[in-house]
């Protein structure tokens, strides 16, 4: 009996082949019943109906795009690598800005019951707002579409980080805080050497949730603001009626999202501890 990993891989591959095969079969144009008239020939064959491209067409597009991902032939014709890089840049900028605010604020809320009670109502009202609802306001105030997209990322990724940091900090075991107290550590040292490492796994969980949400939101935000980015690319290819490219970019969105999550997962492993 092969190991579990080998069997799982075999099963995965067969599912993929099965799904692609069914997809390929389902999207073949029907064979012409009668001779093609001259008019039909001019219109591109007997088949008048447009349909989802078969996987073979998607793979062809993928091959073409991935063999030259960074070409730049003008505003509406950039390589998939460039588009993804724009999106990742926006996500990381907004995300880091959110981190810079959420971590210190979360510490403050977690350590002070007063601040928690005072700020909690605002957090509860602001948190459920769809990040895209901020877009018009952001566009009006910032007057820059690129910065507005970054702001939307900022506002959507701040909440999980803020709440998890506050929760993690507030729930550090009293024993460990007592260890810091009996060793006369000042508040800054206590925060850095005891509370931060103790709360780090919870904080990283919040950061991992945030990066996932940010990557979901960037696609929608870029469809709205346009210009560059993977969200704009998807919408642009839809306008071009190039569905093979649309499907290909959907897959790329998934792959990059997975890589971002993997990176945060690795970071999470680093700070984890067993009691």
């Amino acid at each position: 009996m092969a190991s579990l990993n080998v069997r799982a891989t075999l099963l995965s591959v067969s599912f993929l082949i099965l799904a692609l095969g069914m997809w390929e079969m389902a999207t073949q144009p029907p064979a012409a019943q009668e001779a093609v008239s001259e008019y039909e020939l001019l219109m591109g064959g007997a088949d008048q109906e447009s349909r989802v491209p078969p996987p073979s067409a998607v793979i062809r597009v993928a091959w073409a795009e991935l063999s030259n991902p960074f070409y730049d032939a003008g505003a509406n014709d950039k390589g998939i690598g460039i588009q993804l890089a724009y999106s990742v840049y926006r996500v990381l900028t907004g995300y880091l800005a959110a981190m810079a605010i959420a971590l210190p604020l979360g510490f403050l809320i977690g350590m002070s019951p007063l601040m928690y009670k005072a700020l909690n109502p605002y957090i509860q009202v602001l948190r459920p707002i769809s990040p895209l609802a901020w877009m018009p306001l952001a566009l009006f105030i910032i007057q820059d579409s690129d910065a507005s997209a970054i702001f939307v990322i900022f506002i959507c990724s701040i909440w999980p980080m803020l709440l998890n940091t506050a929760f993690g900090v507030a729930n550090v075991r009293q024993d460990w805080v007592n260890v810091a107290r009996t060793h006369e550590l000042n508040p800054i040292k206590t925060a850095l050497t005891v509370i931060l490492p103790a709360a780090a796994p919870t904080i990283l969980t919040g950061m991992r949730i945030s990066i996932g949400i940010a990557w979901l939101v960037i696609v929608a935000a870029e469809m709205l603001v346009g210009g560059t980015g993977i969200g704009y690319y998807v919408w642009n290819e839809w306008n071009n009626l190039d569905l093979a490219s649309v499907i290909f970019s959907i897959l790329m969105i998934g792959v990059v999202g997975m890589l971002l999550d993997l990176a945060l997962g690795k970071a999470q492993k680093l700070v984890e501890y067993k009691e």
């Binding site: 460990w176 007592n178 107290r181 009996t182 060793h183 006369e184 550590l185 501890y273």
Partner: protein, 302 residues
């Protein structure tokens, strides 16, 4: 004021009882410790032993009374008072050695890295854990964790060491081994130690004096029992001393029969008792013979 190293005067702790009233856990606790003394405190659960220890540590506040150490009032926690908690309280993301280094660095911030490490390793070796210094607490057994915790407390060389039932969570065999180690370390360092325990034999093995607490609420430290046994002591031989039997009987009798009603002296200080010189053991004969057989059995084993 007298010149005792540590003076505890009129300590009490009052909690709201949840029905609008008040509950006095313990009251008018008075005692003094001399430098270099090892004192255990025994009492039934709920008499507030841990609260007294936490007040000494500065982690908790008494409702009334005060604690004076070296002529200075104790307010808040401090490095001159080291604490070993029952649940070890090691930082789980640090290795055994780094947990000790954490304490040593806090105690002597000006020390060089090498000096801190060398000092910490020495204390880890003292508890026999130099082979496990790079392991995290989760990879250590309960007994090993408590050893690290004890090493951390001794390494910071506090003037007063507070042990809150340090062996309470350990099995009997491990407990015995670590007791021996604690005896050894204490003979070397002669730290002033204040320790909570539930174990009569442990208290006799370790301490110079044993405080007996009456039951709560309104618990008091009723008696201060002298443990008149020579140092160095050893777990294997200590019960051969006739005084050991007398002290043991006295303590067991107190805990079983008298802890509900016992009271300190009129002035609030514990009544001083020395069972080893007492001709009349308060225990009646049957219990005596029973313990004797136990003793012979142990002697044979030894």
């Amino acid at each position: 004021m007298s010149k005792s190293f540590l003076e505890v005067d009129g300590l009490s702790k009052v909690y709201p009882d949840g029905q609008g009233g008040e509950l006095t856990v313990f009251e008018d606790i008075r005692f003094a410790l001399q430098k270099g003394e090892f004192v255990c405190i025994i009492g039934h659960s709920g008499c507030g032993k841990s609260t007294i220890l936490n007040v000494l540590a500065g982690l908790d506040e008494a409702s009334t009374g005060n604690v004076v150490m070296n002529g200075k009032e104790v307010k808040g926690p401090g490095l001159e008072r080291g604490v070993v908690f029952q649940n070890y309280s090691l930082l789980p993301w640090k290795t055994a050695l780094n947990n000790i280094i954490f304490g040593v660095k806090a105690r002597w911030p000006s020390w060089s890295k090498e000096k801190v490490r060398e000092h910490s390793e020495r204390y880890l070796k003292m508890v026999g854990l130099d082979h496990a210094m790079d392991r995290k607490p989760s990879q250590l057994s309960g007994g090993m964790r408590q050893r690290v915790s004890i090493a951390r407390a001794f390494a910071t060389q506090p003037e007063l060491l507070l042990l809150d039932e340090p062996f309470g969570a350990l099995d009997a065999l491990t407990r015995g081994v670590i007791q021996d180690e604690l005896v050894k370390i204490w003979e070397e360092t002669r730290q002033t130690v204040f320790m909570i325990t539930h174990d009569v034999d442990e208290a006799i093995l370790l301490s110079d004096r044993i405080f007996l607490m009456s039951n709560g609420p309104n618990a008091r430290i009723a008696e201060s029992v002298k443990v008149n046994l020579p140092h160095p002591r050893s777990r294997a031989t200590i019960f051969q001393n006739p005084a050991h039997q007398k002290i043991r009987h006295y303590l067991v009798d107190f805990l079983v029969n008298r802890s509900g009603s016992a009271l300190p002296e009129q002035d609030g200080s514990p009544r001083v008792v020395d069972p080893s010189t007492d001709e009349l053991t308060p225990d009646p004969a049957p219990a005596e013979s029973e313990t004797k057989t136990e003793t012979t059995a142990r002697a044979v084993n030894a």
